[in-house]
């Protein structure tokens, strides 16, 4: 058994005009809660739909739970739960009917878990799906996936339409039932604050390529903001400086790796260090994604390989 729940090797999904997924190398460790982040149109949903067998890959390969996508899709689906980005279910059925419909497909299905979800997320189970509000639709989709008792849970934007209270309950459910059971959760989102709380691994995708994949705590340790003042501050003294913004004699540097050395170097050049603080996920995200945009010179772009799985 490999240590990865999802592993892709140069996965590609090209359409005639666009390269939605363009050589993706994902490594999702088993037992992790992996946040898959990116802007709208970055390729998150296409990646997930390809992994779920809904789309045929144009190139590369992917494995889920050590099985090949899409050749062994049925066995994969038996052990994988999925909430699609559309948040739709067969529209003429009620929640209770959908539960009855879904149950026989899975050996690991749990009615207790379904009941718990319905109660905790406050889902009306006796209304037809098409009459539900967006938030309730999302919740019912989540229930179908959570009660399946799968080893791997794939959630595409699972917080669509949820209010803060339900959002909080969902996070609790995910932690209680998934994260501690050693199951893997792979969730895409652009709500960074939630991901930052619950995820332990993060992958950032843009234009169909992975910009960064790392343990979240490592990202927090590695990226630093340094405020310094002094005359003749260096403009660019090494590849680890991701940005340097000057205002008068002050400069705000963002560095990756070896902040200590850089601070020492600045000091030796007579600068005063005012502040050294870590970057949060949102700041790292903006930094990486903005850097990809064509107008900026990308001489110091973070290479995913440098931060790839290191345990």
């Amino acid at each position: 058994m490999s240590e990865f729940a999802i592993l892709t090797d140069g996965l590609m999904k090209h359409y005639s005009e666009t390269r939605a997924v363009d050589g993706l190398h994902l490594h999702v460790p088993r037992g992790s809660l992996y946040g898959f982040l990116g802007r709208n149109g970055a390729g998150k949903t296409t990646t997930i739909r390809t992994l779920m067998g809904l789309l045929r890959p144009t190139g590369g390969s992917a494995r889920m739970l050590d099985m090949r996508v899409p050749e062994e899709q049925i066995a994969i689906l038996q052990r994988t739960a999925y909430v699609s980005e559309k948040k739709t279910l067969p529209s003429s059925m009620t929640g209770a009917q959908l539960v009855r419909f879904n149950r026989p497909y899975y050996r690991s299905w749990s009615d207790a878990s379904a009941a718990k979800c319905a109660q905790r997320l406050e889902i009306p189970m006796d209304q037809q799906f098409k009459r539900l509000s967006l938030g309730n639709r999302t919740k019912l989709c989540l229930l179908m996936a959570l009660a399946q008792g799968a080893e791997l849970l794939i959630l595409d934007e699972p917080t669509l339409g949820l209010d803060p209270v339900i959002m909080d309950e969902l996070l609790k459910l995910l932690i209680e039932d998934y994260a501690v059971e050693g199951r893997t959760v792979f969730l895409s989102s652009h709500r960074l604050a939630e991901v930052e709380r619950v995820a332990d691994w993060v992958g950032i995708i843009d234009h169909g390529k992975l910009l960064l994949e790392a343990r979240l705590d490592d990202i927090r340790t590695e990226y630093c903001r340094i405020n310094a003042s002094g005359n003749a501050l260096p403009v660019n003294i090494g590849p680890q400086i991701l940005s340097a913004v000057f205002s008068g004699s002050l400069c705000e540097y963002v560095v990756r790796n070896d902040a200590d050395n850089f601070v020492a170097e600045l000091r030796s050049q007579g600068a005063t260090i005012l502040d050294v603080s870590p970057l949060n996920l949102g700041e790292v995200f903006l930094l990486l994604v903005r850097k990809e945009e064509p107008c900026t010179s990308g001489n110091v772009g973070a290479t995913p390989a440098a931060l790839s799985p290191s345990t």
């Binding site: 739909r49 779920m52 067998g53 809904l54 789309l55 045929r56 049925i74 066995a75 689906l77 038996q78 999925y82 699609s84 559309k86 739709t88 279910l89 067969p90 529209s91 003429s92 059925m93 419909f101 879904n102 026989p104 497909y105 899975y106 799906f129 098409k130 989709c141 179908m144």
Partner: protein, 274 residues
């Protein structure tokens, strides 16, 4: 499971067809037999009732079977994919093949039930009116060109119609047309992912075929293999046909085509992105 869901999705259409078929059959046999047996015509009971079977089959049975095939074939896993349930269904641990064939089988079963029930109701009505008339089924004996229109004219020429139409072939053709139209519409519904488009395209194809067959029959002096007129095949040939197959073999050919539709639907679905 998916069988249950397919039944759930089509049961309303099924019930409507069932009511129409049973009601229509009863009305036709009860109402018309009254007119023929005790009204102005006063025909011999056996001949009159067989005439009702043949004219009812030709005038109502064939079109109704086609409508039934259109209606029951218009729902498929394709319409789910085009609608709201596609992502959910296609990520259940079953092959796409499974979804295509289950949907098709449920439709076929419903058609079989509708035809069987209608046949039973018709038999009961016949028995009520004329006793066990099926012991003496008229045999089509008229070979060669028909110079007089069998159903046209002022008076209905009962005897002539009965000598022209092969009754077992007619009954079989009603079943086959329902199955073929169902298959065609089902395939189109998987292809276009929309029930409405499937019915439209299916109808266009059927009408085009029907028009072509009629025009060729009339002006081109040869016959296309047409299920609707297959019961007249032995007798009603105007010119040299391009199909020399026996009508029974033709019907089997149509059934093979009907099974080819879900196979094609499966191929289409397996190759496409959801």
């Amino acid at each position: 499971m998916y069988f249950w869901k397919c039944w759930r999705d089509t049961r309303r259409a099924f019930s409507i067809y069932l009511i129409l078929a049973v009601g229509g059959t009863l009305l036709w046999f009860m109402g018309m037999s009254h007119e023929l047996l005790r009204g102005s015509v006063r025909a011999a009971p056996e001949e009159a009732l067989w005439f009702l079977v043949v004219s009812g089959g030709l005038a109502f049975g064939l079109p109704f079977a086609a409508v039934m095939g259109l209606g029951l074939g218009s729902r498929s896993v394709g319409t789910e994919v085009g609608g709201e349930g596609g992502d959910f269904l296609m990520t259940r641990p079953r092959s796409r093949k499974y979804f295509v064939w289950v949907g098709w089988t449920v439709g076929l079963a419903e058609i079989a039930i509708l035809l069987a029930v209608t046949a039973l109701v018709a038999l009961a009505a016949l028995y009520y009116e004329g006793g066990a008339i099926w012991r003496h089924m008229p045999v089509a004996t008229h070979f060669g060109p028909v110079t007089q229109s069998p159903t046209g004219g002022q008076a209905v020429n009962i005897s002539l119609l009965l000598t022209v139409v092969d009754i077992p072939l007619l009954l079989a053709s009603v079943a086959v047309i329902a199955i073929v139209v169902h298959g065609l519409t089902y395939f189109l519904s998987v292809l276009t992912r929309s029930g409405r488009r499937a019915v439209t395209y299916s109808l266009v194809l059927i009408l085009a075929f029907w028009t072509c067959a009629n025009l060729l029959d009339r002006w081109g002096h040869f016959s296309l293999p047409n299920i609707a007129t297959i019961s007249l095949y032995r007798t009603h040939l105007q010119g040299p046909p391009i199909w020399y197959l026996a009508p029974e073999l033709q019907l089997i050919g149509w059934l093979v085509l009907a099974v080819a539709f879900p196979v094609a639907a499966q191929r289409v679905l397996e190759r496409s992105d959801i």
